[in-house]
């Protein structure tokens, strides 16, 4: 696969604080790349550097084959960024905002207009194109933000927590827009998010902690490595069940009303259930989630 972003040994310090401490990673062309980490892990700094806003202290970054620091303008032409905060002008209409921001890319008025027509369709702005940005609802604003990021038909779209602060329904519709966008254009999407159900849909996940990369892989690989399936049994007689489990030589943890057994895979549950079937009233086998994987990966790092 072709690499569209290549980062090697990237470093950035603020005084004594090493915000980004020599990280390296690649992003494949056309993929949905999720960039995770707790607050203060160095995610934003990394994105600020890749999107040409911040100068790194050291390391090499290539975006779309252009070297960061030398061909910044070439990079800027090929990226679109949806920032965490709304950065359009509240006193101008959506259309005015898009006309102004579109003019940054060296397009003529006619080209910008054609571009706006195109993004309206992709993002669904029809109804509020001529309303002032400041008067829009949160979801409409986000749509306008995405439209702005798409105005130059970017090859890479950066989304910095695009759904934070939105209600679940709006979040879903914004997410669907992003998904539709990828299916139709094959655009590379670089996403940061705090919602693991969004990260779970990524092609590749990189988790940052304290300026370093602490885990990376596909969502399935991460789940396998950092989370485990669990058998939860609601007991009738706690001590009898515990005794049986000791006899079977399986590790368990106590929970409220249940005893939980960590599994390498769900199939392992079958012999345990067989052996203990008299001793519980009900059971469930739970698959590991991205939430667990994220917590375990970042938690291990804290220790």
């Amino acid at each position: 696969m072709e690499k569209i972003i290549e980062v090697s040994n990237l470093r950035k310090s603020y005084g004594d604080v090493r915000a980004v401490n020599g990280i390296s990673f690649d992003v494949e062309k056309g993929s949905l790349f999720a960039f995770l980490g707790v607050n203060g892990a160095g995610k934003s700094t990394t994105i600020d550097i890749i999107s040409t806003m911040l100068k790194p202290d050291g390391g090499e970054v290539k975006v779309g084959g252009h070297v960061l620091g030398r061909e910044d303008n070439a990079i800027r032409k090929e990226i679109g960024v949806v920032f965490q905060d709304s950065l359009l002008d509240p006193l101008l209409t959506v259309n005015e905002n898009l006309m102004i921001r579109g003019s940054f890319y060296g397009m003529s008025k006619g080209e910008v207009k054609a571009s706006i027509d195109r993004v309206i369709e992709t993002v669904g702005l029809g109804g509020f194109l001529n309303r002032r940005y400041g008067k829009l609802s949160g979801g409409q604003r986000r749509r306008a933000d995405i439209a702005r990021a798409l105005i130059n038909t970017p090859k890479i779209l950066f989304l910095d927590e695009p759904t934070t602060g939105l209600d679940p329904q709006t979040r879903k519709s914004v997410w669907n827009t992003i998904k539709g966008l990828r299916e139709n254009s094959g655009m590379t999407v670089f996403l940061t998010t705090h919602y693991m159900e969004e990260a779970a849909q990524a092609d590749y996940v990189t988790i940052m902690g304290s300026g370093e990369i602490i885990a990376q892989g596909t969502p399935i690989q991460l789940k396998e490595r950092y989370s485990s399936d669990m058998l939860k049994m609601k007991y009738t007689d706690k001590s009898a069940l515990e005794e049986k489990l000791k006899e079977l030589a399986v590790d368990y943890v106590e929970d409220v009303e249940t005893v939980n057994v960590k599994l390498d895979n769900t199939m392992q549950a079958i012999p345990i259930i067989e052996a203990c079937r008299e001793l519980f009233v009900n059971f469930e086998v739970v698959n590991g989630t991205m939430d667990d994987a994220f917590l375990n990966a970042t938690g291990a790092n804290l220790e």
Partner: protein, 290 residues
């Protein structure tokens, strides 16, 4: 660059509060004059014929000069807003040249200041006519517009330089308030420069924007001063009895030792201020852009 300038101008005029507050100093001057100043001046100088029209024209010149400064500052609110709301992030990740960004702010600040000053001038002429004065000749109006243009350049770049040093909205609004309050004193508009204590008169004389007021007074008041002082002889013991005295007292021109400033001096001061503050702004902007 021109799209950015257009954007900034739109943002200024759509924000009614910013338009209002950038005219705050002008409103203060008008109110002060209605209630105190004009009457006391008219009384004190009452022997001079046409004094009402003379003082009215003097006031209009001062108001236009203040407008060039405060509205320029008002328009620069966009620049601070872009900084404090981090809107610059959007600009910095776009292939928009930093110089176009800065140029956009400068152009919009000058254009806003010029438009507002012309409006102030038109309203001011209306006021003078209401007082019984004549509509200035076309030549005078053209000259005045020329001076306004220069004043906009000088005062606009002065305000731009200071704004480029500020980072937060609160610092900027504090600065705007200070300018709004002080500018009337510093340009000798709240009261004639001649009424101020000596120390303050010095500050007035060395404050560059003062010369935009001085130049506007010279041009706008010339005709009526000619009319008034031809054949006027002050009564015995009267403090102000010649045109030169009157001009000095009202801050039409200033005295440094034996030299008196004139229109040319004011134009030179404004031209120099434009060049110096534009230069300083460029240094300040490029320093921040790393």
């Amino acid at each position: 660059m021109f799209t950015m300038a257009k954007r900034n101008i739109k943002l200024y005029f759509r924000d009614k509060a910013s338009v209002f507050f950038s005219l705050m100093a002008v409103l203060v001057i008008i109110v002060l004059n209605i209630f105190f100043l004009t009457d006391s001046l008219n009384e004190g100088l009452g022997e001079i014929p046409n004094i009402k029209i003379l003082v009215g024209t003097w006031l209009v010149a001062g108001i236009v000069a203040v407008t060039t400064t405060t509205t320029a500052l008002g328009a620069l609110g966009t620049m601070i807003e872009d900084k404090s709301r981090k809107i610059y992030k959007d600009f910095y990740t776009s292939p928009l040249k930093r110089s176009s960004l800065a140029g956009g702010y400068i152009i919009s600040c000058m254009v806003v200041s010029f438009i507002m000053s012309l409006i102030a001038l038109a309203a001011g002429i209306g006021y003078v006519v209401y007082l019984g004065g004549d509509i200035p000749s076309t030549a005078t109006i053209l000259e005045t517009v020329g001076i306004i243009l220069l004043a906009v350049l000088a005062n606009g770049s002065f305000m731009f330089f200071i704004t480029s040093l500020l980072k937060t909205s609160s610092a900027f609004s504090t600065f705007s308030t200070v300018v709004g309050v002080l500018i009337g004193f510093l340009m000798g508009i709240y009261m004639p420069a001649g009424n101020l204590p000596d120390g303050v008169q010095w500050v007035v004389k060395v404050f560059p924007p003062t010369y935009s007021a001085s130049a506007l007074r010279t041009v706008l008041m010339d005709d009526i001063l000619n009319d008034t002082f031809s054949g006027f002889s002050a009564p015995e013991g009267y403090e102000i009895f010649t045109r030169a005295d009157f001009e000095k007292f009202m801050g039409v021109n200033f005295e440094f030792g034996d030299c008196t400033t004139n229109l040319m001096t004011a134009i030179i001061v404004m031209a120099c201020a434009s060049i110096v503050f534009c230069g300083l702004s460029v240094i300040s902007m490029s320093r921040k852009n790393k």
